[in-house]
C-alpha cells in the first residue's frame, strides 16, 4: 500500500509531535529516545516478530498485546505511540519515526545526544572529558547515552548523528590483524 510521500511525512510528524508533547510533559524525552532505539533494535533483530506484527490475520488488539508483553516496563507514552503504529499497520515507518523523534528531541533539549560505549562504567571525570572534547565540535551541549559492552574489550566508542568513532581495543586489534594477515605489498589505492 504505497502512499503519497508527503502524506507519510505528515503522518510521521504527527506521531513525533504526539510523543514529544507527552514526554515533555513528564520530562522523559531523553529516556524515550533510548527506549525507542532499543525497541527499534529488537524489532529489527527478530524478523519473525516483525512479520507477526505485520500479519493481516492477527487483529489489532493481538498485535498491541504482543508489543505490550515484549516491551513491558517501557515508558507508557512510547509504548502507546508504537502500539498505534502497529494497530494501523505502520510499523514499517518506525525507523523514520525513531530518527525523526531523536532529531526533534535534540532540538527540544537543545543538546546533542551522544552514544558512548565502554567496558566499564564512566566516572564523572571521564564524562567531563568527553563533554569538553565534543562540545566545541558540535557547538552545543552534550547529553551522554551510556552503554556497557564487554565485547569491545577496552577503549571507547562514540556515536552521534549517524557517525561513529570507534576507538575500542577490539577494533584496533581487528585492524591490526587484517593488516598483518593481508599480503598486499604492491599497488596503490
Amino acid at each position: 500500500m504505497p502512499k503519497n510521500r508527503l502524506l507519510v511525512n505528515r503522518e510521521i510528524a504527527t506521531y513525533v509531535q504526539v510523543l514529544l508533547d507527552a514526554t515533555q510533559a513528564s520530562g522523559t524525552t531523553f529516556e524515550a529516545t533510548s527506549q525507542l532505539k532499543e525497541m527499534q533494535h529488537v524489532l529489527v533483530e527478530h524478523p519473525a516478530l516483525r512479520d507477526a506484527l505485520r500479519d493481516e490475520t492477527l487483529d489489532a488488539d493481538a498485535r498491541v498485546n504482543i508489543l505490550g508483553s515484549i516491551f513491558e516496563g517501557f515508558d507508557p507514552s512510547v509504548l502507546k505511540v508504537v502500539s498505534v503504529m502497529a494497530e494501523r499497520h505502520e510499523l514499517g515507518l518506525i525507523h523514520r519515526f525513531v530518527n525523526e523523534f531523536q532529531a526533534k528531541a535534540e532540538e527540544a533539549l537543545d543538546a546533542v545526544i551522544v552514544d558512548v560505549t565502554t567496558v566499564v562504567e564512566l566516572d564523572d571525570a571521564l564524562r567531563t572529558q568527553i563533554k569538553n572534547k565534543l562540545e566545541p565540535q558540535f557547538g552545543k551541549s552534550i547529553v551522554l547515552r551510556e552503554h556497557i559492552d564487554p565485547s569491545i574489550m577496552g577503549g571507547i566508542i562514540l556515536g552521534a548523528h549517524g557517525k561513529r568513532i570507534d576507538a575500542s581495543v577490539a577494533k584496533q586489534l581487528e585492524k591490526t590483524r587484517v593488516v598483518l594477515s593481508s599480503q598486499r605489498s604492491g599497488g596503490e589505492r
Binding site: 549517524g162 568513532i165 591490526t176
Partner: protein, 521 residues
C-alpha cells in the same frame, strides 16, 4: 626467492605493521534493517553515494562488501557482493568513500579470479600493480582513433567476411549449443604471440563449464596471456552483474598503462586487450533480479528501464586509443544467447544496436555440419573492413556476394535439373567455397594460410575435385606450402597483399600440390 623462514615471516609482519594506521576518525555508520535475496536495506548513511562500496560487518567480525544502489529518503538499498548469509539484521554498515575497484596487473595473467579480483584458482594471492574502478566512464572522441588493426580470430569464415578490428565491439549471437563460446575461446587461443592480453568473463555459467574452458586454454598455452573472471551461476546476482564491468576494468589497466605499469603515452604504448563477455544475457537476467528485488519498476520483459544503459556503458568502454594516449585497444566480444533464434527479443536487439556488428550463429547450420555455424548472410562487421589485411581483402572481396548468390541458386536449383553451364559452375564453386569455410575446433589458421586457401577456391582450382576432398586438400596444401614453399608464404606475409607476380607463383604452387594430391583416400 621466497624462503619460508621465521626471519622472512618476521620481516613481512614488521613491514605490514609499519603500514598500520592507528588514527581513529569518525565514520558514517548505518544499520541493516532488513536483508534477503542478496539485498540489504540500510538505515542511516546519509552521505552515501550512488554506486559506493559499502562495508558490512557481521556480528562475528566478518566483512562483506556491498554496493549502494537505491538512495531513498531515510534508507539505502544495497546489494551484497559475497557471503550473503554472514550478514544479519542490526549489523553495522560503513561507507568507504570509494566505488568498487578491482586489482589488476601482470600478476593476474594466467589466473582465475572472481569479479572482485580475488583468486579462485588456489594459486595464492595476487600482487596487484594497480586498481581500476569497475564503473569507468568510457573515453571520449578526442582520445580515440578509428579502428585500423585487425584481430585475427583464426577462423576463415570470420576473418574473411566479418573481420574484427582492435577496439571493435563484435557481438556473437545465437541459440544455445551453436558454438558461441567456442568462437570466443578459439579467438583467445589464436592470440598466442600476437601481443594481446585476453580476458574471458564467464557470467552465470556452470562452474564445470568455466573449469573446462580454463582447462582448454591451459592445454593450448593460452592461459599465459589470459585472465579468467568467473561469476558462476552459484554466485549472487550482484556479482554476476559487476563481472563484465570488472573484466573490462582489469583490461583497462593494460590499455591505460604501458609495459612498465606507468600511465600510457606516446612514448609508453598501452597494450591490446581482448575481452570476451560470456554472456551478457545472463548479466541482464542478474540485473533484472537485482532490480526487481530492489523494487525498481519493471519494464519490457520485466527488465529495468536502464538495462540498455547497462550494456551500452559497458560496451562503450571498448576503445582504440589514439597514439598520443598510447594506442592501446580494448576489443569486446560480447556473447548473447537467443531463445529459439529470436533476435527481436529485448536484450538481443539492444546489444545488436550497440555493437559494431554481429556474428550470427544458427543451429540448423550447426547440425548440417557447417561449423563454425556462422550465417555469413546476416552477419556483419561495421568497422572491421578497414582493419583487414590487404591480401585477405583482395581474395575475399567477392566471397560474400558469391556465397550469397550461391545460396540463392541452391534453393532455386532444388526444383529443376536442367541448368545451364554458368549456373552449374556457380553451384560447383559455391559448394566448394562453403566447404572451405568449415573449420574444426582449436584449428585456427594464420591469415596467410587463409588467403592461400581462399585464393585456391576463388581461382577455381578446387572446382574439379569432390566436395568431400576439399578440407583434406586445404590441410595438405597448407602443410605443403609451409614445408616446401616457405619463402612464398613468408613473402605473402611480409607484403600483406597480392601482386601479379605473387598471384602467378601462388597459382603455380597450388597446381603443383594438386598434381600430387590423391582425391580418394
Amino acid at each position: 626467492m621466497a624462503e619460508i623462514t621465521a626471519s622472512a615471516i618476521d620481516e613481512v609482519l614488521r613491514k605490514q605493521l609499519d603500514s598500520l594506521d592507528t588514527s581513529v576518525e569518525s565514520r558514517e555508520v548505518g544499520t541493516v534493517i532488513q536483508i534477503g535475496d542478496g539485498i540489504a536495506r540500510v538505515d542511516g548513511l546519509k552521505d552515501c553515494m550512488a554506486g559506493e562500496l559499502l562495508e558490512f560487518v557481521s556480528s562475528e567480525g566478518k566483512t562483506v562488501y556491498g554496493l549502494a544502489q537505491n538512495l531513498e529518503e531515510e534508507e539505502v538499498g544495497a546489494v551484497l557482493l559475497g557471503d550473503v548469509n554472514a550478514i544479519k539484521e542490526n549489523d553495522e554498515v560503513h561507507t568507504t568513500g570509494r566505488i568498487v575497484e578491482v586489482p589488476s596487473g601482470k600478476a593476474m595473467l594466467g589466473r582465475v579470479v572472481n569479479p572482485l579480483g580475488m583468486p579462485l584458482d588456489g594459486k595464492g594471492p595476487i600482487e596487484a600493480e594497480g586498481y581500476r574502478p569497475v564503473e569507468f566512464k568510457a573515453p571520449g572522441i578526442i582520445e580515440r582513433t578509428p579502428v585500423h588493426e585487425p584481430v585475427q580470430t583464426g577462423l576463415i569464415a570470420i576473418d574473411a567476411m566479418i573481420p574484427i578490428g582492435r577496439g571493435q565491439r563484435e557481438l556473437i549471437i545465437g541459440d544455445r549449443q551453436t558454438g558461441k563460446t567456442s568462437i570466443g575461446v578459439d579467438t583467445i587461443i589464436n592470440q598466442k604471440g600476437k601481443d594481446m592480453i585476453c580476458i574471458y568473463v564467464a557470467i552465470g555459467q556452470k562452474a564445470s563449464t568455466v573449469a573446462s574452458v580454463v582447462e582448454t586454454l591451459q592445454r593450448h598455452g593460452a592461459m599465459d596471456y589470459t585472465i579468467v573472471v568467473s561469476a558462476p551461476a552459484s554466485d549472487a546476482a550482484p556479482l554476476q552483474y559487476i563481472a563484465p564491468m570488472a573484466g573490462a576494468a582489469i583490461g583497462e589497466f593494460f590499455i591505460y598503462n604501458g609495459e612498465d605499469g606507468k600511465p600510457a603515452s606516446a612514448m609508453n604504448p598501452g597494450r591490446h586487450v581482448l575481452c570476451v563477455y560470456d554472456d551478457l544475457s545472463k548479466q541482464a537476467v542478474a540485473y533484472r533480479q537485482m532490480s526487481l528485488t530492489l523494487h525498481r519498476p519493471p519494464g519490457r520483459e520485466a527488465y529495468p528501464g536502464d538495462v540498455f544503459y547497462l550494456h551500452s556503458r559497458l560496451l562503450e568502454r571498448a576503445v582504440k586509443l589514439s597514439d598520443k594516449n598510447g594506442g592501446g585497444s580494448l576489443t569486446a566480444l560480447p556473447i548473447i544467447e537467443t531463445q529459439d533464434g529470436d533476435v527481436a527479443a529485448y536484450i538481443p536487439t539492444n546489444v545488436i544496436s550497440i555493437t559494431d556488428g554481429q556474428i550470427y550463429l544458427q543451429s540448423d547450420l550447426f547440425f548440417q555440419g557447417q561449423r563454425p555455424a556462422v550465417n555469413v548472410g546476416i552477419s556483419v562487421s561495421r568497422v572491421g573492413g578497414s582493419a583487414q589485411v590487404k591480401s585477405m581483402k583482395q581474395v575475399a572481396g567477392t566471397l560474400r556476394l558469391d556465397l550469397a548468390s550461391y545460396r540463392e541458386l541452391q534453393a532455386f536449383a532444388q526444383f529443376g535439373s536442367d541448368l545451364d553451364k554458368a549456373t552449374q559452375d556457380q553451384l560447383t564453386r559455391g559448394a566448394r567455397m562453403t566447404e572451405l569455410l568449415k573449420q574444426g575446433r582449436f584449428a585456427s589458421m594464420e591469415v596467410e594460410d587463409q588467403v592461400i586457401a581462399i585464393y585456391a577456391g576463388s581461382q577455381g582450382l578446387l572446382d574439379d575435385m569432390p566436395v568431400s576432398a576439399v578440407l583434406r586438400f586445404r590441410a595438405g596444401l597448407i602443410d605443403y606450402m609451409h614445408t616446401n614453399k616457405a619463402d612464398l608464404v613468408a613473402r605473402l606475409r611480409e607484403k600483406g597483399k597480392l601482386d601479379d607476380a605473387l598471384r602467378d607463383e601462388l597459382t603455380e604452387a597450388i597446381k603443383q600440390y594438386k598434381a600430387s594430391f590423391v582425391y580418394e583416400e
